[in-house]
Amino acid sequence: MNCTKCKTKAVIDLPRHNAAFCTPCFTTYVHEQVAYAIKHQRMFGPDDRILVAVSGGKDSLALWDILLKRGYKADALYVDLGIPGYSAKSRAKVERFADTVAKPHGATLQIHTVQEEEGAGIKELSDLVHRPTCATCGTIKRYQFNKAAVEQDYDVMATGHNLDDEASRLLGNILHWQDEYLDKQSPILPASVEGFAKKVKPLYRLSERELAAYAVLNKIDYIVEECPMAKGSKMLLYKEVLNRLETESPGTKHRFYWGFLEKQTQAQPAATSMAEKDQALLHPCKTCGQPTTGEICSYCKMMARAHLAR
């Protein structure tokens, strides 16, 4: 199979675009998709300071790599959750990438260690508050990434969510008719109230397979093994189902998610309505000051319960 663009030997075929690419043309394709996403969704400009949420996985490291190579000012934050046998490996991958790739671009890595800051690892914390580990992890990461971005005056926080993440989440929301969450499925969430950082997902046009291929071809050393806490999750099941459909009918995932985004845009100016809704619902947490719908935010409630249970 030859490259659709330059006719040399291809290294990856993309059935959803009826195309195949060699390494340089594939790298160009990935960069163009990200550039389109940033421009089309008005994510950030060339002078904005970006905080990338990194995990050591292919998506977040690929995102950091792409942003740096495109000349953006992108630092990163890693949250060390203290998962036995996993966090040490993923942290080492992030630190290695920071030293070898990010540092020469003048970018820095920050690390938040849950064990040191919250006094216990993720497993112990989730046991103490009787919540699933993935839910506890989500609360801590959302809180710490937002806090770091706001306190250090980053213009925007970027995450490595890809097309598969967004399509599977949309499928989950629709299957359970959680329509109140649908307007949060945009690749861009505005800094709607004081204390909320603007959040963007520059990889929403690229599939997991494409991002894994980008990482392999650009020699990004990422953690291949799955987080042991994620085994049996519903999202993995939704992704599996969508990938079966995609294999039978290429383009299913992007038609599903991008089609949703188009309809959302036609239905209402999402950013405005979301900001208005947030402003009506949110106010500062009495403990930490971050925006919340209740008196105390879910992070502070969780930590208070964990301290009481000890």
Partner: protein, 77 residues
């Protein structure tokens, strides 16, 4: 050929020559969720794999449970 698989890590022997897509089919694996790597080179699905090739089939899917909250779900990949 020796084929390395993940989740859990293991290796299987498959008789060549076979095209990459036939190897995936034989292992009941979906193309969209995997990369096929020969040695350290990524290859397309029509590539012919021989008995002396060392092949890695790498899964590409990641992600934990999605807790749907007010300001989005999970923020890292």
């Amino acid at each position: 050929m020796k084929v390395l698989l993940s989740h859990p890590e293991r290796s299987v022997d498959i008789k060549g020559p076979k095209r990459a897509k036939e190897v995936l089919r034989e292992l009941n694996l979906v193309q969209e969720a995997h990369l096929v790597i020969r040695g350290d080179e990524l290859i397309t699905e029509d590539e012919l794999l021989k008995d002396d090739d060392l092949v890695e089939i790498r899964p590409v899917i990641s992600g934990g449970s999605q807790r749907l909250t007010l300001h989005g779900s999970r923020f890292t990949s």
